[in-house]
């Protein structure tokens, strides 16, 4: 039997989930706070682009829309490090045929909404701010801020896919025994742009994620299909004794230019709108949110950023949200095998039991990876580590899988990747202490290294 579902949020996760729900026959009404920017001519919303990897692809495939998205995605085969002198070092993400895919958040969201709307049992409502949810009665109230009208919606279940500052979570938070954490990094981020060449080609290698690692801060750039790059500067909000460089020190044109000349000299010639972008674009914060439980009985459930917002440094925010949708769909199928009516309480319970430990793990991994990206990737020792690990993986494809590969190119649980990565790091620390390792690494006793990991 089909259920009436109120889905709060038409972002990436909400839109994808509506497709899965519709395909199982449920009546889905999606309420989105923002206007329908598909009708606004130019692409609105955030210009940010995201890195799609294996977990995201699997979910898109299960929803039958993998190819549609492939058409708008650009492969990035590795990291291109820009050192302070402008020298480049390329480090592949995985094996030769492996890549992560740069895709525009806005365009991806449009495609997902278009596909969802073709399902006759999905209906989108825009300009609908969630004002209140009666959790026990599964009744949601939305305010149309344009028309100043209220919309009270009663349904069988309410799903909150309404992002890091979720209104649905805000209601759950009022229930007893709701555990909740929000934690901000001292860093903020600001988006900048590298436009295409006149002929529409990219000004930097288009098949890489570019990183300018500068220890306590960094700049990155991801390619767009139109030849441009979307760049993001990650930098502390406030300077202190240990950290001289911070957003609070970059207020005048001179300070901004001087900062870029000192640290990112090679981007100045290719960023003609640097000053305007820097001053116009907001400085945003980086929050990690965790909570438990994600559900109330069989009535309300959170998904995506609403339940587990993470920092962007492992490129897994969207991918973990899409993986949520994948598992949600799996558990719907499990229910349907057992009986005709979905037991939503059991489904939500299965869902959070599967996802909470794993999304906590990717939250930790994402924070760890910030240090790796801004600091360690610039270190020759680190590059050697990666080479040794790549060699181990080549020889023992299933017995030594580098952590980045587990997270990005596999469906192994994030918590397994976190724990195995810790063991691998300990083993690698010992190896890196070996005398003259930079010259002798080809002669390591590979078999015994892999055995250590299994033991």
């Amino acid at each position: 039997m089909s259920s009436k579902v109120t889905l709060v949020g038409a972002g990436l996760v909400g839109s994808l989930l509506s497709i899965f729900l519709a395909k199982k026959g449920h009546q889905v009404e999606v309420f989105e706070r923002r206007p329908d920017y598909r009708k606004m001519g130019a692409v609105g919303g955030r210009s940010i682009n995201l890195a799609l990897s294996e977990r995201g692809w699997r979910a898109l495939k299960a929803a039958g829309i993998e190819q549609k998205i492939k058409d708008i995605a650009l492969p990035m085969r590795g990291r291109m490090m820009h050192d302070i002198e402008g020298n480049l070092t390329f480090q592949p993400y995985g094996k030769e045929n492996q890549a992560i895919y740069s895709v525009s958040r806005a365009i991806l969201n449009e495609v997902l909404m278009d596909v969802a709307e073709k399902e006759q049992n999905v209906k989108f409502h825009f300009n609908q701010r969630c004002e209140n949810i009666d959790i026990k009665d599964t009744e949601a109230t939305f305010l149309n801020e344009e028309e100043q009208t209220k919309n009270r919606v009663k349904s069988d279940i309410v799903i909150g896919a309404d992002g890091a500052f979720s209104a649905v979570r805000g209601e759950l938070q009022k229930m007893p025994l709701f555990n909740y954490t929000q934690h901000y990094l001292p860093h903020g981020y600001k988006e900048l742009t590298i436009p295409p060449n006149e002929d529409g080609s990219h000004k930097l290698a288009p098949d890489a994620l570019h990183i300018w690692p500068r220890r306590s801060f960094m700049l990155i750039a991801l390619p767009n299909t139109d030849g441009s790059f979307t760049c993001t500067l990650f930098l502390r909000f406030e300077s202190d004794k240990e950290h001289q460089e911070a957003f609070d020190k970059l207020t005048s044109d001179e300070e901004i230019i001087s900062f870029f000349e000192t640290h990112f000299a090679d981007v100045i010639p290719i960023m003609p709108t640097l000053l305007e972008d820097f001053k116009q674009n907001p400085t945003s914060s980086l929050v990690t949110i965790r909570c438990a439980p994600w559900a109330y009985q069989g009535k309300v459930c959170l998904i995506g950023d609403a339940s587990h917002a993470i920092v962007p440094f492992y490129g897994q925010g969207m991918n973990s949200g899409f993986e949520d949708c994948f598992y949600f769909n799996e558990f719907m199928e499990k229910q349907l095998k057992k009986n005709k009516n979905i037991d939503w309480q059991e489904l939500f319970s299965d869902f959070q039991e599967e996802r909470i430990p794993n999304t906590n793990a990717i939250a930790d991994l994402a924070i760890q990876n910030f240090i790796e990206m801004r600091d360690r990737v610039a270190d020759p020792e680190f590059l050697l580590r990666k080479k040794i690990e790549a060699k181990l993986h080549e020889q023992f494809p299933s017995r030594w899988i580098p952590q980045y590969t587990m997270v990005t190119f596999s469906h192994l649980p994030y918590s397994y990747a976190l724990n195995t990565g810790k063991k691998q790091e300990q083993i690698m620390n010992e190896i890196m202490k070996k005398e003259d390792i930079e010259n002798n690494w080809q002669n390591l006793d590979w078999e015994s290294i892999v055995e250590q990991l299994q033991s």
Copy 2:
């Protein structure tokens, strides 16, 4: 120069802080959500009693009211463990002259308010629910729920001493970069009573904190001056495969009586109102709250449970709040030595830098101590550990201070107690592995043990 201070909350910490502020010449207006229960004849509010220890006493002494409180406090010199057969084991908390003091929360609060009100520059307002605070303008709005009148108060600074569910913190939480955690234990608690004998004497030894440790749950009892004991049952809310005993299994009279007969047989004869108390009193939850920052510029600051609510198992909730007041006063004095006008921004900054790491540490310690109280104290090996540690402390009073003593009978920072306690535990783990330690412990090489801790 004096400042106009809005203090939200007239609980223990708010009332004590108002005394310190008044003595420094500030104009203090205290707004309390509840009515003035001093005017309600019988003692209202929560009947709970608390354990005052050294940190609390130091703050009361600095406020000049130590003796007033001594008069209403009962010393508890150790833990009296009640095993399942009703056998008693006494374990002293510290040296012979050391005790913690049971005091009624309600009576203590009354005394503090009475003392504060004698200061001409302190004014209390009751029935005032904090509705909103304009943080940047330091303007607070209170609603008198009885009279349905609103009260808008502008002042130089606003201090939130309004407890674990602080409205002031709720406002700070809307600011960017506010880190926040609320974490509930799976256990709840319920208060019960052991009345006095007919002659007004106590039915159990009055100079001890009584514990019935039962591994995953426990009952405790603290003496009152009127001959009664206030008891608290700590038990999981929900049963599961591993934990058969939980509040959700105690719904009928038969289930309640059978639970007590099985686990606490010796209290049934001395708890004549067990069934009524059990059914009438609420089951409350146990939350740990942490946040940072505690202050906004020189305008708003949190103190006590509002900034660091902890679970009650180390008896340090009130003591850490009183220690907050002590340090707040110290930092006021530091300011007054530098200049005539207090720089509140600098003061709040000093205050939170001193207190956040230490209140985080006591939050961890309090959770740890739950396991100790409900499980480990029943273990003969644990009692031997405590004996060995007491012996070490006797021989090296300043070089080996047991963790409980650091927390309860010293002013050493909580974070020092946490870290030193971890080292002590590792050393003690090795000692307890020694062959036949229960018979040979008197012959340990004490000097070398203490050296290990210092190394």
